[in-house]
């Protein structure tokens, strides 16, 4: 990199040899106070302080805690890497990671596919279209607690509507949340419903950006709707898809609320995902040190996954110049 011009490197604390005016320190201070730099930082300071206080400090503190055998009270015992070693031998951590991956692998693509299909279906001029769009987004406005309670009732094994409808078609009754093999699936359905509205809005916005000329050109070349969708719409939506993939994955790795409200990790540990397990360790077993260690690994894993997604995204994403 070329060396920047010297004026850019000059700072107020650099005594300018040519500056022979009276009281240079006072002048420098005045220049400091009136510089744009300070003004900008002063305006950013309240937000910066809050971020440091409630973001950075807790992260650093939890890193410290992860090397301690600690409860909340001050004075934890330093145990080195013991918490990390315990993690390797903890079968529940392995299960929780498996459940989290299984959940993410189902939740992210399903939400994106359903979101994209709904967005394409709504991207046209028909009557009451804004009503439909609002309706799709309403699921985002429903609080997680309500969402979980609604689905608890829908999927209730004995009294739920889902089993009732299934019985009308002569289908066998399912235990859903009372089944270790089905419970995670119900959580997937619950959260896909909750997040689809978000995907729809992102895709609708991206669809507005596809130039009509490209679509017209394809139509003139005789492309059928399916080919247009596959060859033009999907590739042109790829920046939005990358954003959604990253955003939804981060959220999927942090799944907690729905599990906390509906199954509390059960039945038989079937819905114990990683953040729920961190909660159990930290706030039910009071192993704050161990919980911090798992949380830190999750943070690193999330960063790695996001980095990989961005890297892969750069290769496969089509940005219009």
């Amino acid at each position: 990199m070329a060396s920047p011009p010297s004026t850019l490197r000059r700072r107020w604390w650099h005594r300018d040899p040519g500056d022979v005016g009276g009281n240079p320190a006072g002048r420098a201070a005045r220049r400091f106070v009136s510089s744009e730099h300070v003004g900008g930082w002063a305006f950013a300071a309240p937000a910066a302080v809050i971020i440091v206080l409630f973001g950075a400090v807790p992260i650093v503190w939890s890193i410290v805690l992860s090397f301690e055998q600690a409860s909340f009270s001050p004075g934890g015992k330093f145990v080195g890497l013991a918490n990390y070693r315990e993690m390797v031998h903890d079968p529940t951590v392995r299960q929780a990671i498996a459940h989290t991956l299984e959940y993410t692998a189902l939740f992210v693509p399903l939400t994106m596919i359903v979101g994209m299909l709904l967005a394409v279906a709504m991207n046209r001029k028909i009557r009451f279209i804004s009503l439909y769009r609002t309706a799709a987004y309403v699921t985002m406005a429903v609080s997680t607690i309500n969402e979980a309670l609604i689905f608890l009732w829908l999927f209730d094994p004995s009294y739920g509507i889902v089993n009732y409808v299934a019985s009308l078609f002569g289908l066998p009754q399912q235990p859903f949340l009372n089944s270790p093999s089905q419970a995670l699936g119900v959580i997937v359905v619950m959260t896909v419903w909750g997040w689809t509205g978000f995907a729809v809005i992102i895709y609708l916005a991206a669809l507005q950006g596809i130039p009509q000329t490209v679509l017209d050109a394809a139509a003139m070349d005789g492309a059928r709707p399916w080919a247009t969708f596959r060859r033009i719409t999907v590739p042109m939506l790829s920046p939005a898809s990358l954003f959604l993939a990253v955003w939804l994955t981060i959220n999927a790795l942090q799944l907690f609320d729905e599990v906390y409200v509906s199954t509390q990790g059960g039945p038989v540990g079937a819905t114990t995902v990683i953040v729920y397990y961190i909660y159990e360790q930290g706030f039910q077993y009071f192993n704050i040190g161990y919980a911090s260690a798992i949380a830190l690994i999750l943070l690193i894993a999330t960063l790695v996954v996001t980095a990989v997604q961005f890297r892969a995204g750069r290769r496969y994403t089509h940005y219009r110049s």
Binding site: A42, P46, S73, D156, S158, Y159, S262, T263, G265, E280
Partner: protein
């Protein structure tokens, strides 16, 4: 000049907002006056009754002000721990009894063992189940704030419709299971009984009382190893399996909050539950009976109690002594009596429960509650008072629920859970 003022303003605002977070934490004892910070989770009628008691005490003790902070009971320990880390714990907090072993490890918790021996306190007047939970090792970590227990609430209308005689005090689990089967009508989606299946303590303590009644115990003496992988343990799980998996007479509630609505809608015949649920059953004609026993078991009729405690944290001698005096007054027979009568909560003291006419007065407010009061005499054991209990509880929840949902057989579930519990206990012993 403009440029000069705005940054200063921004900095000033920041400082202002930061100091705002820090105020209100100093409550001194200047001039002999003490302000006690008290955290509790009462709502509704409990809250209003408690406020009256606080006002009454403040009027009689002008030197003491009690500043009450409402906190969700589920979160109180977490909040207390955070406050401890910040160096400003409350003077008094309402804490669940199941936390007692963890609470005992907090250095700032005041040991009340000499306080409860003071003349006039009459510590033995508190039910044995409460004293057991308030005592950890040789420390008394709190004074009982609330007590409850489990009994069977049954729908009299459904019993009559099925031509069944209502449960009698000497009934057995065989009677219970047979009644449950007869009360089950699949076409009406009506179940004999219910059990909750989230992975929580709620699924566990309902089973622990069964284990005790069948003559088993959870851990060996001294809490060294699992003891529930026994004939008694097997008997309890097989009975649950019969009802849930074979006869389908047990509604499995994955939410832990629908069973009460269903009972109130006449869809469930019998519930094993506590007095706190009674007010949720206005639509059904219900009766209450003590827990059944296992035929031939020496365990007889028992129940399990989940008492909670008032815990004092050390904020200096004047605060501790003021807090002790207030709690001793709050938990004295007169206050226990008026609080119970106003709220329907069970009395924490035996003398209050035994007083002539008290039962009838309570029943007028909340029908059936007198059976729960009598049932306090059936509290014969307490859950193990060890810091690893929450972890053991998760293991036991998995064991019970795996049998209920039919994913494992009773003996296999017992063996697996016993191994896991032994591992937890060994790890805790090895770690000191």
């Amino acid at each position: 000049m403009r440029k000069f003022v705005s940054p200063l303003l921004a900095v000033g605002l920041t400082v202002l907002s930061l100091t705002a977070c820090g105020t209100n934490s100093t409550t001194g004892s200047a001039g002999g006056k003490v302000t006690l910070q008290m955290w509790e989770g009462y709502t509704g009628v409990e809250q209003t009754t408690f406020s009256h008691l606080v006002k009454e005490y403040e009027a009689a003790n002008p030197n003491v002000t009690i500043s009450v902070l409402p906190v969700n009971n589920d979160d109180t320990l977490t909040k207390v721990q955070t406050a401890l880390a910040g160096g400003v714990p409350p003077d008094i907090a309402y804490l669940y009894g199941s936390w007692a072993p963890n609470v005992a490890e907090i250095p700032q918790v005041v040991d009340l063992s000499s306080v409860v021996k003071r003349p006039g306190v009459n510590w033995d007047d508190f039910f044995v189940g409460e004293r057991d939970v308030a005592t950890v090792g040789n420390k008394v970590i709190g004074i009982p704030a609330l007590v409850d227990n489990l009994a069977v609430v049954y729908n009299k209308t459904l019993f009559a419709a099925a031509h069944l005689t209502p449960p009698s005090p000497d009934w057995t689990w065989n009677d219970f299971a047979a009644d449950a089967q007869k009360l089950t009508i699949a076409s009406k989606k009506q179940f004999g009984t219910a059990y909750v299946t989230p992975e929580s303590e709620d699924a566990v303590w309902h089973w622990e009382v069964l284990l005790w009644e069948a003559g088993g115990s959870l851990l060996t003496a001294g809490n060294k190893a699992a003891a529930f992988d026994s004939a008694a343990g097997l008997r309890t799980l097989e009975m649950l399996r019969t009802m849930a998996v074979v006869q389908h007479s047990m509604y499995l509630d994955p939410s832990d909050n629908e069973y009460a609505n269903l009972f109130n809608s006449g869809k469930i015949g019998m519930l094993v539950t506590g007095p706190w649920d009674l007010s949720a059953f206005p639509n059904v004609h219900y009766g209450v009976q003590i827990m059944p026993s296992f035929p031939g078991s020496a365990g007889g009729h028992q129940t399990i109690s989940g008492p909670d405690n008032w815990v004092i944290f050390n904020n200096g001698a004047s605060h501790v002594s003021a807090a002790e005096n207030f709690l001793l007054w709050l938990t004295a027979p007169a206050q226990v009596r008026s609080f119970s009568l106003a709220t329907g909560d069970l009395p924490t003291r035996a003398s209050v429960a035994a007083a002539a006419g008290f039962d009838q007065e309570m029943n007028k407010e909340l029908p059936g509650v007198s059976t729960f009061i009598e049932n306090l005499a059936n509290v014969k054991q307490a859950r193990p008072q060890i810091p690893t209990y929450p972890k053991i509880s998760t293991t036991l929840a998995n064991m019970v629920v795996s049998v209920l949902v039919g994913s494992s057989q009773p003996q296999a579930a017992l063996t697996t859970a016993a191994n896991q519990v032994n591992q937890i206990l060994n790890a805790a012993n090895a770690g000191g």
